[in-house]
């Protein structure tokens, strides 16, 4: 793990080149090599994803039984993200008839968990071919609920959220098989995650995009305390322009409610972005607190694995922000803001 001193040094780099040279003596050295060979910043994103997949696979290899299954289920999140990326490209190319050029080359094309022929999806002439490519994966049945017309008219947003929910459902199923102590830890973490991600969706889509109650209900991740609660039902029942995120979280996360009730600095549509960012930061801080407690607690449970993933993910996010920040010339504060 990179220490704060190293992060500060990276932050002080004047350009993307300087940043990458500073990464040469860290586990992120392959990024510097990739840039040296291509001069292409987008390759770095691909390298980071590759690193993340390799890390998950390494951890899974050290475990066995239900614990290994859990790490594999967590790895599926990466697979879903990759799948969403490929589907977006496929949609642009095949449905919208746009040129996707070399962009497929940046996506991960090896096996993550399921055996998926990524090139079959990207080159699929129609949605049926996409379904065929994913028939033997857990995503097949979910994808089958959509049809070509739906995709053509509404885009892949619905598909993406369905895939997220599918992954979450599979993860919950795997958690149920774990020994009771590990199960408790996972359920606590997942419930808080579920609640806050649902809140983000309710703010973003219920407030900004003003989706109807049924559409919003369909977006919700299973579990957590907010989904199905009285506050949730009241939120859905309220007119979209009058919906209040503060009321939604007041009971479960009073601190967050206080933050959300503070006057946003932004105006207009940016208010939603600012409120969403507040929830995301709260979620990050909450996770950080949970995982630090896990690291200081009993060491022989799944908490250590989760904390490791969290720390590693946080670090990757920092590196990703640094790479983008240095490339686009952001200041240090903005970079740190994106990293948390």
């Amino acid at each position: 793990m990179l220490d704060e001193k190293k992060i500060d040094t990276l932050m002080r780099s004047g350009s993307i080149e300087e940043l990458l040279q500073q990464l040469r003596d860290t586990p992120y050295a392959p990024l510097a090599t990739a840039f040296d060979q291509s001069g292409d910043v987008q390759r770095l994103e691909a390298e980071l994803f590759k690193r993340e997949v390799a890390l998950h696979k390494d951890v899974a290899a050290y475990l066995d039984g239900y614990h290994a299954q859990l790490v594999i289920a967590l790895t599926r999140k990466l697979e879903v993200e990759n799948l969403k990326g490929v589907l977006r490209l496929w949609f642009s190319s095949t449905v919208k008839k746009q040129n996707i050029d070399y962009r497929f080359g940046y996506l991960f094309q090896d096996q993550i968990v399921s055996s998926i022929d990524w090139s079959q999806i990207i080159n699929a002439p129609d949605y049926h071919e996409v379904l065929r490519a994913l028939a033997d994966t857990p995503y097949g049945p979910v994808m089958a609920q959509f049809d070509t017309d739906q995709i053509a008219s509404k885009g892949v947003f619905g598909l993406e959220t369905a895939l997220d929910r599918c992954w979450f459902h599979e993860l919950r199923k795997t958690v149920e098989k774990l020994p009771i102590d590990d199960r408790k830890i996972l359920n606590t973490v997942l419930d808080a995650d579920t609640d806050l991600k649902n809140v983000i969706n309710l703010i973003r889509f219920g407030w900004m995009y003003r989706l109807e109650a049924d559409e919003l209900r369909a977006l919700m991740l299973e579990g957590g305390l907010i989904n199905g609660s009285r506050e949730f039902e009241e939120y859905l029942a309220t007119e979209p322009q009058l919906r209040s995120p503060v009321q939604l979280v007041k009971k479960r996360f009073p601190k967050l409610a206080k933050e959300l009730s503070e006057q946003p600095k932004a105006t207009g549509a940016s208010v939603v972005a600012e409120q969403t960012l507040r929830v995301e930061r709260f979620l990050f801080q909450l996770r950080k607190k949970e995982f630090i407690a896990m690291l200081g607690g009993y060491p022989f449970n799944i908490g250590i694995v989760l904390a490791y993933f969290f720390l590693s993910e946080r670090q990757d996010k920092m590196i990703r922000s640094l790479v983008n920040g240095k490339y686009y010339g952001w200041d240090a504060q903005t970079i740190r803001g994106f990293a948390t």
Partner: protein, 671 residues
């Protein structure tokens, strides 16, 4: 060879403000002063002194230097390094001008990078096409054979540039071939129509097209890869072109950075500069003359002897013993010795080699390690002066190989082992015969029990040496309390000696009885009884020295004394026993070494000797050298750190770190 740390002196100097610059340069040139803030010496005067802080300047210098270093690394060059620093070449600097120059280079590189990026993206397109062609995933491809009726192939090529494609129009007989991705068909087909594309009806040409395309794509792939390599070279060349100015900038910035570091330790009055720091006693006169010369005599210098300062505040320097540098690194990795104590380096050198030899006694395999070390040193001597960044193989490691190889050779001659064979009779005893019980063992060492006995005696000697070194350190520190009553003091050592005597007498009696008479009970009883008074004596001495201690009732005081006594007893008896028995690992590793060799000999016989046998023996020896050598090295280090150092090396010293042009290797000084 001085066995103790280097004596130090504390300098405090006052120079006129106008002479400060010259003095700073001289201090940097000499590089022997480990600065401390004057305020630390005279806290009551601190408020009257001014401290100039120009941290932002130093930070800007550092950032600019890092920019230069990033360019060096991009080109794959080593960063200039301190060997190029010359204080006489010091010049004023203008960060803005430096940064402008660096911006120019960076912008030029940026243009090259853009080119590199587009080549890299073109390569992605070609890779995808080639992959589908090779895997015959023709359903993803549109292969068209025919001719262009309107316009040139070159024009079509440029119009197809945003899509993955290949046009082959080099053979008039075979016609033109256009390869694109089927997913791009909706955009590509209208384009081809505009160029009046006419599809060929000849099936043979269609069949041949795939082979031609694979060849064409491979050619394009290799050409793009070559282009990428050339771009990389262009980047290197562009930076190399600027190497001289970059080097000059780097050196000047580094000098200013060091000057800033020195000045950050200065305090000021209105017209004077005051500074203070530690210097090895041998450099006292040299430094004094340098300050006087630089300030043209307008200075006041005061020297304070290290003995007048608290020992814990005096930085520790040890005299450099170049031949023992690998062992010095082992000491540095552990910690810094206390000021005025024994330098552990020569002692770890002897004990480490002895331990390694006992665990890995084979003259043939030792020779291999020695040769590896010599080859490594030759490699390093060829690259002398160049900075070696990272990497596990260092010059010190090669030197260590030479030492360990030599130790192994000597031990191998003593044990009569040459690649596991007894080519010459042993000078001491046959280790292999003693372990395998083959009947060739001679002298006092007949079996593994005798080997175990040797290593236990070896451990006793090492622990004994550690205790004696500790007593010398404590005597020099005038810490008579710990010298007498500490578990590693004289009482602890006495109990250890009596324990050894008692244990060996018990073994000599065939594990039947302890030595008879009153000596043993008294030898144990008296020191144990004395240790009961350790806490009260300590308390008395502290009060006598003027320390104010927390008030305790008689009951809790007695309780404390008894508890500490119990802990001491446990530590002395179980600690020394565990420390001594820990040395049995030396025998363990030695026995494992022999057993492994024996296993490979048996495998040699199983394959019927000959060339196959020779291969087995070679692989066996290589594995033993790699695995056993590593194990023996690690175990010897562990024994030194945990069984030897813990007896006398507190590691509480403060490292001597002077500000110098050329950084010192840790806390060693070459005077």
């Amino acid at each position: 060879m001085n066995l103790f740390t280097v004596p130090m002196k504390l300098l405090t100097a006052v120079v006129l403000e106008s002479k400060t610059e010259a003095v700073v340069q001289e201090l940097l040139r000499l590089g022997v002063l480990d600065f401390i803030h004057v305020e630390k010496l005279a806290p009551d005067q601190a408020a009257r002194l001014l401290v100039k802080t120009e941290i932002s300047d130093r930070s800007t210098i550092l950032d600019t230097r890092m920019r230069i270093e990033a360019l060096y690394r991009q080109a794959g060059f080593s960063v200039p390094g301190s060997r190029l620093l010359n204080i006489d070449a010091l010049q004023d600097y203008e960060i803005a001008a430096y940064n402008r120059q660096l911006d120019q280079i960076t912008n030029a590189l940026q243009l090259i990078r853009e080119k590199q990026k587009s080549i890299s993206q073109a390569l992605i397109r070609v890779d995808e096409l080639l992959q589908y062609c090779r895997e015959e995933k023709l359903q993803y491809l549109d292969i068209r054979v025919g001719s262009i009726e309107h316009g040139e192939a070159q024009t079509l090529d440029s119009r197809l540039a945003p899509y993955a494609h290949l046009i082959l129009d080099d053979s008039p007989d075979d016609g033109a071939v256009v390869l694109t991705l089927r997913r791009d068909a909706s955009q590509v087909t209208p384009l081809l129509d505009k160029f009046g594309w006419v599809e060929s009806v000849q099936v043979a040409k269609q069949k041949q097209a795939l082979k031609r395309l694979i060849a064409g794509l491979e050619k394009q792939q290799s050409s793009l890869s070559e282009n990428l390599e050339q771009v990389k070279l262009q980047i290197t060349d562009r930076i190399k072109k600027e190497e001289a100015p970059l080097e000059a900038m780097w050196c000047n910035l580094r000098l200013h950075e060091l000057i800033g570091e020195i000045e950050s330790n200065f305090s000021h009055t209105r017209n004077t500069t005051i500074f203070s720091g530690w210097v090895p006693q041998e450099s006292q006169r040299l430094l004094e003359e340098a300050v006087k010369t630089a300030s043209e005599g307008e200075c006041i210098i005061e020297w304070i002897d290290a003995q007048q300062m608290p020992r814990s505040e005096v930085p520790v320097a040890t005299r450099e013993i170049p031949v023992l540098s690998p062992f010095q690194r082992m000491v540095d990795n552990y910690s810094t010795p206390e000021y005025g104590s024994i330098n552990p380096t020569p002692f770890i050198a002897v004990s480490y080699m002895a331990m390694f030899g006992l665990m890995f006694g084979d003259a043939g395999q030792g020779l291999v390690i020695l040769l590896l070390g010599v080859l490594g040193l030759r490699h390093f001597s060829k690259r002398k002066g160049q900075l070696q960044q990272g990497g596990m193989i260092t010059e010190n490691l090669c030197k260590l190989f030479v030492y360990l190889g030599s130790a192994s050779i000597i031990a191998g001659i003593l044990f009569g082992s040459y690649f596991g064979y007894e080519w010459f009779p042993p000078l001491w005893f046959n280790y292999h015969a003693a372990v395998m019980g083959t009947g060739h063992a001679s002298g006092a060492v007949q079996d593994v029990y005798d080997i175990l006995k040797i290593t236990i005696w070896f451990g006793i000697i090492i622990i004994g040496c550690g205790l004696v070194l500790n007593w010398i350190n404590l005597f020099i520190k005038k810490d008579y309390f710990h010298l007498l009553l500490d578990k590693n003091g004289i009482v602890g050592g006495w109990l250890f000696g009596c324990g050894v005597w008692g244990a060996f007498s018990f073994v000599a009696s065939g594990y039947k009885k302890l030595p008879e008479g009153r000596f043993l009970p008294l030898a144990f009883g008296i020191p144990i009884f004395i240790l009961l008074f350790k806490v009260p004596i300590h308390h008395y001495l502290k009060v006598k020295e003027g320390h104010v201690l927390a008030h305790k009732s008689i009951g809790s005081f007695i309780m404390d004394s008894v508890l500490e006594w119990v802990v001491d007893m446990l530590e002395i008896f179980s600690g020394f026993l565990a420390n001594t028995l820990s040395f049995m690992r030396v025998a363990g590793l030695g026995i494992a070494h022999v057993s492994l060799m024996a296993a490979f000999f048996e495998m040699n016989e199983l394959v019927g000797g000959g060339i196959a046998g020779l291969v087995v023996t070679l692989i066996g020896n290589a594995l033993v050298i790699a695995l056993e050598g590593l194990s023996a090295g690690i175990q010897a280090l562990r024994l030194n750190y945990y069984e030897f150092f813990t007896k006398y090396f507190t590691g509480k010293g403060l490292s001597y770190n002077p500000v110098a042009l050329h950084p010192h290797a840790g806390r060693q000084v070459r005077i």
